[in-house]
């Protein structure tokens, strides 16, 4: 069976969920070979093996942390040369897409970004993408070179499938460009204890109707009762009520959770572009005419300052 190279997204050895989803998708088109780079790379092997990696290639060097993107492209290219895979899959993070794109140019291959599904086809893997604020769904293929595809979080349910997961050290020689962009300082984002926005199964978002940074705790309390991530509309972010890293929408993050709860968000096209592929959509808004209600599975026309706390209490009671 053909091998499929999967780029691993991990933080100091802790594999992030989108990578496990990638392994699940990779098994539809071949045998996954994982590539883990940087600090803790070898520690990813057990969980990768549990999810189907027949082999885990690892490499660590100061270059991966000290310089932007290119050293990782050099490593992915080295793995590509070593494995000669049938396809290369990379998580659709900002960095993942940059790494994948640069590899595609180097190996003279086509690239598909932000796939939301992947299946085997007669002429190579077929990727589903969402277009025009998710109002269209397209199916595409790569016709030249080895398919390089980046896949969005929440595109597949993670399935365990134990495999050998043999660990092998990959030797990487860095290109001249590798040290071009120096990372002179790195400040880790403060942990909130909440799930990562793009990976969360449930997202609770607040918008203009929240009416101030001091009121966002209402949204956070609902999120915490549901084990959800917190999102914000552009209006709320531009007003300085919530950090940009939590912005959902065209110029922020695109999310595709099982459940999306929009509170005090009217549903402008820019916001819809970032959440329209959510499986179940719920909205709370005072304005019965708000366009968000066109999208919802369930909507409450009402004041979020009444409805959201009541919902939070009810969730807590039901969860006991």
């Amino acid at each position: 069976m053909a091998e499929v190279l999967v780029y691993v997204d991990h933080v100091d050895g802790a594999v992030r969920k989108p990578t496990l989803e990638l392994l699940t998708l990779a098994r539809r088109i071949g045998e996954p070979v994982a590539l883990a780079l940087g600090n803790g790379a070898a520690e990813t092997a057990a969980v990768l093996a549990e999810h189907g990696a027949v082999k885990v290639l690892t490499a660590d060097a100061p270059e991966f942390a000290d310089y932007l993107v290119v050293p990782k492209v050099d490593a992915l290219q080295a793995a590509y040369t070593a494995v000669s895979p049938a396809a290369v899959l990379v998580p659709s993070s900002a960095e993942g897409k940059e790494i994948a794109a640069r590899l595609a140019v180097r190996i003279k291959s086509g690239i598909i970004t932000d796939a939301v599904d992947l299946e085997a086809g007669d002429e190579g893997p077929v990727a589903t993408q969402a277009a025009f604020a998710a109002s269209y769904s397209t199916k595409s293929r790569i016709t030249t070179g080895t398919p390089v595809i980046t896949v969005k979080p929440n595109s597949a349910a993670v399935e365990a499938a134990p495999a050998a997961g043999t660990v092998e050290a990959l030797s990487v020689s860095f290109s001249e460009q590798a040290t071009g962009t120096k990372v002179v300082a790195r400040t880790p984002r403060e942990a909130t204890g909440r799930p990562e926005l793009t990976e969360a199964a449930i997202v609770v978002s607040g918008g203009r109707g929240v009416n101030g940074a001091e009121n966002f705790h209402i949204i956070e309390a609902l999120a915490d009762s549901l084990g959800a991530a917190v999102g914000a509309s552009r209006a709320a972010v531009d007003a300085g009520w919530y950090p940009h890293s939590n912005q959902v929408g065209q110029t922020g993050k695109s999310v595709s959770p099982q459940l999306y709860i929009a509170s005090g968000i009217s549903g402008a096209i820019q916001h819809r572009a970032g959440m329209q592929t959510s499986k179940t959509i719920v909205a709370i808004n005072k304005d019965a005419e708000a366009p968000i209600f066109d999208l919802v599975d369930y909507g409450v026309v009402g004041d979020l300052f009444d409805v959201v706390p009541a919902l939070t209490e009810e969730v807590k009671t039901r969860k006991g």
């Binding site: 086509g110 604020a133 998710a134 460009q177 071009g180 120096k182 990372v183 984002r189 019965a288």
Partner: protein
């Protein structure tokens, strides 16, 4: 020495219009108005601010697109860019990311540059990989997704806010930079700017000007193919209730029924 800045911009279909695909599964540009991609306005703005700080700088805006794409160039010129280059050729129709990045890279080299600035992504395709591809093709550092950017003494520095960390980056020119919508509000063109833009030079280049062949670009030269594009079925009308004191409870009931609680 003059700082040569090239800003790459895209002419995109208006997101508030009825966007759809044409019969050949490329974006239908006839039925919907186009405009300068909003995220590229931030790139123009940062170019203007960097040019203001430099002793001597020249800003060229560059786009690859059909005839109407000149509108995007005019907008950037009216904001304050000095000149524009429009790469236009019938054979470009249907170019994919790989093809577009090839054309842009060739045009940037022909224009001459010390600094390339792009928006973080287009508002239509939204892939966000063109800046990285340009850096790869041009063989210069990529300093991408910056929420703050500064150029001084031939060095570009900036802040990149990622999912797990915020990074301070540094690279020597020439380099490719991309900026996010957090980099700073883009200015509105003034009346004076709009009038001045009409007199600014817009050069038109075709494939032969860039030493490219038709089969390297367009649908023919694309490395990817779209097999189908289907409109997602409209969501079936959901349940909408008016809160009369029980809205939170009713919603909880719905969520429990869907097994979210």
């Amino acid at each position: 020495m003059s700082l040569r800045i090239v800003v790459t911009v895209k002419y995109v279909p208006d997101a508030t219009g009825d966007r759809h695909f044409a019969d050949d599964l490329t974006v239908d540009r006839d039925d919907v108005d186009g405009l300068l991609s909003e995220l590229d306005e931030y790139a123009v703005e940062q170019a203007l601010q960097i040019a203001d700080e430099a002793d001597d700088a020249e800003i060229t805006v560059l786009t690859v697109g059909p005839e109407d794409a000149k509108d995007a160039l005019r907008k950037a010129l009216s904001m304050g860019a000095d000149k524009a280059v429009h790469v236009e050729d019938d054979d470009l129709h249907g170019s994919d990311i790989i093809g577009t990045s090839l054309v842009l890279a060739k045009a940037i080299e022909k224009a001459g540059y010390d600094l390339v600035i792009s928006g973080m992504a287009s508002t239509d395709g939204t892939a966000g990989v063109i800046p990285a591809l340009l850096a790869e093709r041009l063989g210069v550092p990529q300093v991408t997704l910056l929420s703050e950017v500064k150029v001084e003494d031939g060095v570009v520095t900036g802040r990149r806010d990622g999912d797990s960390a915020s990074e301070q980056l540094e690279a020597s020119l020439p380099a490719v930079v991309s900026v996010t919508d957090q980099s700073g509000e883009a200015r509105y063109p003034s009346f004076k700017g709009i009038m001045a833009a009409k007199k600014k030079p817009v050069e038109s280049w075709d494939l032969s000007d860039l030493d490219l062949e038709a089969d390297q670009v367009g649908l023919e030269g694309a490395f990817t193919t779209v097999d189908s594009a289907t409109e997602r079925p409209a969501r079936t009308a959901g349940t909408i209730v008016k809160d009369e004191g029980e809205g939170g409870k009713q919603l909880a009931e719905f969520l429990a029924g869907q097994k979210f609680i």
